[in-house]
Amino acid sequence: MPIISIRDLVVEYEGRRVLNRLNLDIEAGETMVLLGGSGSGKSTLLRQIIGLERPKSGSVFVKGVDITSCASSELQKIRRSIGAAFQSAALFNSLSVEDNVALPLREHTALAPSIIDLMVWMKLAVVGLADFGKLHPQELSGGMKKRGAVARALALDPEILVLDEPSAGLDPIVAAELDELILLLKETFQMTVIVVTHEMPSAFRIADRIAMLYQGSFKSIGTKEEIKASQDPRVRQFLDRIPEDMAKAPTVATYFEKYLRRKEAFQ
């Protein structure tokens, strides 16, 4: 039985359809990458999976519970088994990095402070921030903030880890480090990982399966090899980096000719 199951999901914002009848199953323990261009609806889908928004119609089952219609208390229970790191890291600036990681442990568990300190140190060590726990988020680099957000997402040992654009805005070396971290986490904790990205090298490095979104619909869902071999024109356009509207030389030339003729006419 899949750990996450999406059925006929439709999302609309002010009458504009953003996700169009999506169906997807994510198996426990697999890394699913949601790939797609800007505005394709991948972050919207992610927000549906973690129950931040309600759809117009359809269902999202997480561990067998339909989070689009369940009671608030049940949703809170499901959320404790999900760890999420957002695109902007979203660490609380008023708290140090270790307090950020300790927050869910202090609030949702009855562990002794010394145990919490130990667990926080372990989570920070996993992401390579053990020596930076006392710093505040504004004192960290972009890559460190993202790793801090991953450490916080791991705090309650979630079954599902959700990462929104983990490598966006990072240099290739730090982005590659994050990819390795995701692989390490999956191997160590055997968790289900869902990653939203538009970076293909990263997607092909970490994914077990890839779901390719285009204008709110899945164009292709499959393994890395299946996606690479896909002949769907939109998938090929994305993989081969073909621009949507190329500025054609004749069009530019025509525009300048018209401009010069108009200028001459005024003179």
């Binding site: 404790r80 999420a84 902007s88 869910p104 609030e107």
Partner: protein
Amino acid sequence: MATVLEDVGKKTIEHLDYVGNLNIQLWSTLRAMGSALPLVGNRYRWQATVRQMLQIGYDALPMVSLMALCTGFILAMQGASELRRFGALHYVIDLVAVGFTRELGPLLTAIAVSGRSGSAFAAEIGTMKVTEELDSLRVMAFEPIEFVLAPKYLAALISIPCLTVISNSFGIGAGGLFMFFSTRLAPLLYFRYVLGSIALRDVITGLIKSVAFATIIAHVGCLEGFRVRGGPDSVGRSTTSAVVKSTFLVIVADAIFTAIFYFTGAH
């Protein structure tokens, strides 16, 4: 004509929607308030409440005291210039004492707190929204109303009436200084006259107003923060809007309360 009617209708619906949202937020906060209470609630929320009380109350103390002192002098001098002509200078004491306890103390405090803390609430929550911190709270199974709003509201409910009492004291004290320097009225005798001119119900009605003002300031500030859409520029707009709307609503509420107390004979 049709366009004017359409605009009026649209604006009316917008305002009703705003008031509706304020009411929903108020009831949700009242339900979550238990968590911010000492001993019976969550100790982290109570710690947050104490921090907020220091920011709203203690930090505003110099400003509110000085404003009350200046206004007390102004009221005494303006009143004296007219009352002196009728040989009724001693009525300055009643004017200052009753004016401050019933009206000026709560109103001055509310305006000062609205400018300081109402704007701070909107900016803080707006920034949390823009940086996805509110989403990250929800994913960690925290309710933003309980986590962010309840401590602020409880702190405002405690701090603003306390500031109002201090404001009343400084305003009445300023009247005493004026009377001492203008008529050599002994301070002890002045305070005996003050106690004779105000009744307990004057103090209570003033405090009822200050509780209502605290509710308006906390909820308008927080709602403006929650309504932020887009980027940092909208945080600036929401901050301005929080001050303008809360000041306006405080004055409207003041007029309503004064009318109620006047017609029910409480004044």
